[in-house]
């Protein structure tokens, strides 16, 4: 069935899958956001234990999504993988480091004789929550603001220097934080993750103090989130973007490119609007409602986040747009057409993608069966395996 599709259709299909994985990743970063709040919302060891344990039952989903996002991007758009990871070396290293220390922090935190001490592992969680969100947000922003790199595939014939892509920016990617728009999106993702973190606490923990503080910090983090997010979106609409001439493949700057994309693709516009509305509704629910309804905000804001981020990714790559633009050499910019895998590989991978709904289904089933009861202080004492 996939082998009869055109290469363009397969490229679009895979760009959507990768974008969807990226969007789910941003939603699942409620774990990172929650990690930055363990001292703010947890005022004593018992409260912190509940917070860490409720996050600890989900951290692997976020981690695995990140790894799969990387793998899927590699398989479908290998030129992006090679150019971005090999060039923006320091950004990616700075993103990966916090994930190493996160992976052990949960398991080691409360174990006796753990070498570095409980506080250190808690700080590992906070560092991961801070750097992971800000830097991933900033890295995604470069899809709209561009990076400084050049690609020349015929370098392969140079026997002493056959490397095809090189980074021309001064700091191997770290220069991205000098652009205020990248910083704004990084901070928007950071505060959004904290918002989602508080919504997740409200959903899974039955403890009055934690609920009260979660609500307070939900409000506190919503304000900067909205400021950074709205300024980013407004800037996105008014700045020029990286357009591609569909016939020649030439990349050029087009004023209001992303605004044009939004109105030429009404489906994306609707997705974006619904996404933003759902996030706002998810935030409003616990602030306005009490009881059961007040704890379900995550189920609105979560899908809302996925829709919004997905819409942003589609704005970056569809409608003849270069999704990973180079400001150093416009013609080196990556489009979904010039950076993808072959028709054969995309076809083979598409068959594998049929499994995704099954994966989502069993994750859902397992999630429900573990979360059917809220965490409370009593469970922390009776449960044999806690973090």
């Amino acid at each position: 069935m996939f082998e009869n599709m055109s290469i363009e259709t397969l490229q679009s299909y895979w760009y959507i899958i990768v974008s969807l994985l990226g969007s789910v990743l941003v939603f699942l970063m409620f774990v990172q956001g929650g990690q930055t709040l363990i001292y703010t919302i947890g005022k004593n060891e018992e409260e912190r234990k509940m917070l860490v344990n409720t996050l600890g039952r989900k951290w692997e989903f976020t981690f695995t999504t990140l790894v799969t996002f990387g793998g899927a991007f590699f398989a479908s758009f290998p030129l992006f993988y090679s150019t971005s990871f090999g060039g923006a070396y320091w950004v990616w290293m700075a993103i990966l480091f916090p994930f190493i220390i996160q992976a052990v922090a949960y398991e080691f935190r409360s174990k006796p004789n753990n070498f570095l001490g409980q506080k250190t592992y808690e700080w590992f969680l906070i560092i991961n929550g801070l750097l992971g969100t800000v830097l991933i947000g900033a890295a995604v922003s470069t899809f709209f603001t561009g990076s400084e790199f050049s690609i020349n595939k015929t370098s392969m014939i140079n026997l002493t220097d056959p490397i095809i892509s090189r980074w021309e920016g001064p700091a191997n990617g770290l220069e991205a934080v000098l652009n205020w728009r990248n910083v704004a999106l990084g901070l928007a993702v950071f505060f959004l993750a904290r918002v989602l973190g508080t919504l997740y606490f409200l959903n899974t923990i039955a403890d009055e103090n934690i609920r009260k503080r979660s609500k307070k910090h939900l409000l506190i983090n919503t304000i900067p989130f909205l400021i950074f997010f709205l300024s980013y979106v407004i800037a996105l609409m008014v700045y020029p973007g990286f357009a591609v001439d569909p016939l020649s493949g030439t990349v050029f700057m087009e004023p209001y490119k992303y605004f044009h994309n939004l109105i030429t693709m009404p489906g994306v516009l609707i997705l974006f609007i619904i996404g933003v509305m759902l996030v706002l509704a998810g935030i409003a629910l616990p602030l306005l409602g009490e009881g059961k309804r007040g704890s379900t905000g995550i189920w609105l804001a979560g899908p809302g986040t996925i829709f919004t981020v997905l819409a942003l990714f589609l704005l970056a790559g569809f409608n003849n747009t270069a999704y990973y633009p180079s400001t150093y050499d416009l013609q080196s910019s990556l489009t979904i057409h010039n950076s993808s895998s072959s028709h054969y590989t995309l076809t083979a991978m598409s068959y594998v993608s049929i499994m995704v709904p099954f994966v989502v289904a069993y994750i859902w089933y397992a999630w429900k069966s573990i979360n059917n009861k809220k965490i409370d202080a009593a469970e922390m004492k009776s449960e044999s395996h806690t973090y």
């Binding site: 590699f74 990616w92 392969m156």
Partner: protein, 525 residues
């Protein structure tokens, strides 16, 4: 000024990859093996309803969790390093290599991470049957992820199911099944996961032996040893069988690696297998020195292992460099003449291919079809030697012989020892004398570090033995790296070294404490 790649970037990128892979492989084998042992123990619990089995299962599960987290932490670095440090490689073969990595994520990682949560937190939340299923799915997920990454690794050792596309300047997949089911991939997967099973078995036996020595938890220890030694014996025999299969594949596809594994410089017919030996220090190919100071050899065995024939000709390092012999197998059927050519000729052919690629690209740019067609023909004829173009001298095609030789022999000797240990433990258990055989119990405890050594040396043979190739014959390390400063890689190397080492110390300390605490509560459900 002619730009050239920074040689120290290659060395530091290799060092960083080796560091990450070595650390990763300290944790993964135990995950592979212990996950199945836990699933077996839990199955016994569900079948018998005996709460002691639940207690046993939960004890090993605690140790499993401590080990698992750090395997995940090192794994993420391994994956992204293909991009960060080997970006040219990621483009040149990403069309083939990326797919297994993505499939690994979709098929295996989610399975593993979803059901591991049920395994740890589901005891009081889900039914016994669902919990048991989760334990099995965790084990299957872990082993499935090993499958895909090993398929990817095997493809680098024996590139199959692809062709080179001169327009995109990369290799592209043409047959997924040839990539997945290549004999090297199948063998590598089976050999590697069974090494993990043996690791799990020896870990369980060693720690249980410690309990017996301390006269604690006798029932738990004996039951654990029983399960682990049966599992270990079966899997270690299978490990030896697949090890033999590996040697057979290496003889056909990577003859230089085989020569290095055996320290064989001059080939001959009916070559023996070195059982033990000391290499002459400073020996170089072609210097006429004897390769060994001393060696004990089993006659004809290398010819049998490599070619299933007592009189088969096994080429040595020098023969492979100089060519001129008639190979029993050609690495690429129909692409190599009956008589092997020298590495120098291969370098020339590789350069002819690269030059033809350049002519093709130029002709294509100006639409000169006749010229581009003829260049393409030349390029295709010489493409099997493409990677040789980047070697600056024939000797660059020789891997580090001493490292490969000693690693191989340590691995094989330990493999034989493990089989004997499993037999001895099972025999003592059957005769009900295991508790009194303190020497055997101590030997079991001290075999734990040895199983890790065997595992690591196995990977050293596989990866050092194939140097200089990232992809056999098609891309050497030099052409695979990223364009980054060596100083950046030096910094990240030491950062990784510090973090991984700190985490390893933490893991060992936590593990030791959890073992001495022992199994906690009795099974109540």
């Amino acid at each position: 000024m002619i730009e050239s790649v920074d040689l120290s970037t290659i060395d530091w990128s290799r060092a960083q990859f080796a560091l990450t892979a070595i650390y990763h492989w300290l944790f993964v084998p135990l995950t592979l093996g212990l996950s199945f042992l836990i699933a077996i123990m839990e199955t016994i619990y569900v079948k018998t309803g005996d709460p002691e089995w639940k207690r046993i299962t939960k004890f090993w599960m605690t140790l499993f969790g401590i080990n698992f987290a750090i395997g995940v932490a090192t794994g993420i670095i391994l994956e992204f390093q293909f991009g960060t440090n080997w970006s040219n490689y990621s483009w040149f073969v990403g069309d083939i290599f990326g797919a297994p990595l993505a499939i690994e994520g979709i098929m295996a990682f989610f399975l593993e991470s979803t059901f591991i949560a049920v395994m740890f937190f589901g005891w009081n939340k889900v039914s016994k049957g669902f919990h048991l299923t989760s334990s099995w799915l965790t084990a299957i997920g872990a082993n499935l992820s090993a499958l895909w990454i090993l398929v990817a690794n095997a493809w680098m050792q024996y590139p199959a199911g692809m062709h080179f596309n001169p327009d995109t300047v990369r290799n592209e997949m043409v047959n997924f099944w040839e990539v997945l089911l290549s004999p090297v991939a199948v063998n590598k997967f089976l050999h590697t996961v069974s090494s993990g099973y043996v690791t799990g078995a020896i870990f369980v036996i060693g720690i249980s032996a410690w309990f017996l020595l301390k006269k604690r938890e006798l029932l738990m220890a004996q039951r654990s040893i029983l399960v682990a030694s049966i599992f270990g014996l079966i899997t270690s025999l299978f490990l030896a069988f697949t090890g033999d299969g590996s040697a057979y594949q290496v003889a056909q596809k990577q003859p230089m690696k085989l020569a290095a594994m055996e320290g064989l410089y001059k080939g001959e017919k009916g070559v023996g297998l070195v059982a033990m030996g000391i290499l002459t220090p400073g020996k170089k190919a072609g210097d006429g020195k004897d390769a060994f100071l001393v060696k004990i050899e089993i006659p004809k065995l290398l010819s049998v292992l490599g070619y299933r024939n007592t009189d088969a000709y096994v080429p040595g390092v020098e023969d492979l460099i100089q060519g001129g012999f008639k190979p029993e197998f050609s690495p690429r059927p129909a692409q190599e003449s009956a008589i092997a050519i020298s590495v120098e000729e291969k370098i020339n052919k590789g350069r002819t291919a690269v030059t033809a690629l350049g002519i093709y690209k130029e002709a294509k740019a100006v639409d000169d079809k006749a010229k581009s067609d003829s260049a393409l023909k030349v390029m295709k004829e010489n493409f099997p030697y493409f990677g040789y173009a980047y070697l600056n001298k024939p000797a660059s095609a020789i891997p580090n012989v001493p490292v490969t030789f000693y690693s191989f022999h340590i691995m094989v000797a330990l493999g034989v020892f493990f089989i004997l240990l499993f037999i001895a433990v099972l025999y003592a258990l059957k005769k009900k004398v295991l508790e009194k055989q303190r020497w055997l119990l101590w030997l079991s405890v001290w075999t734990i570090p040895l199983v890790y050594l065997a595992s690591q040396t196995g990977w050293i043979v596989a990866e050092m033995g194939r140097q200089p190739w990232v992809i056999q014959d098609l891309m050497p390390t030099m052409a695979a790296i990223s364009k980054i400063d060596a100083s950046s890689v030096v910094i990240t190397f030491f950062l990784f070294a510090a973090v991984f080492t700190a985490l390893l110390i933490a893991e060992i300390m936590i593990m030791k404490r959890q073992i001495s605490i022992g199994p906690k509560e009795g099974g109540t459900k």
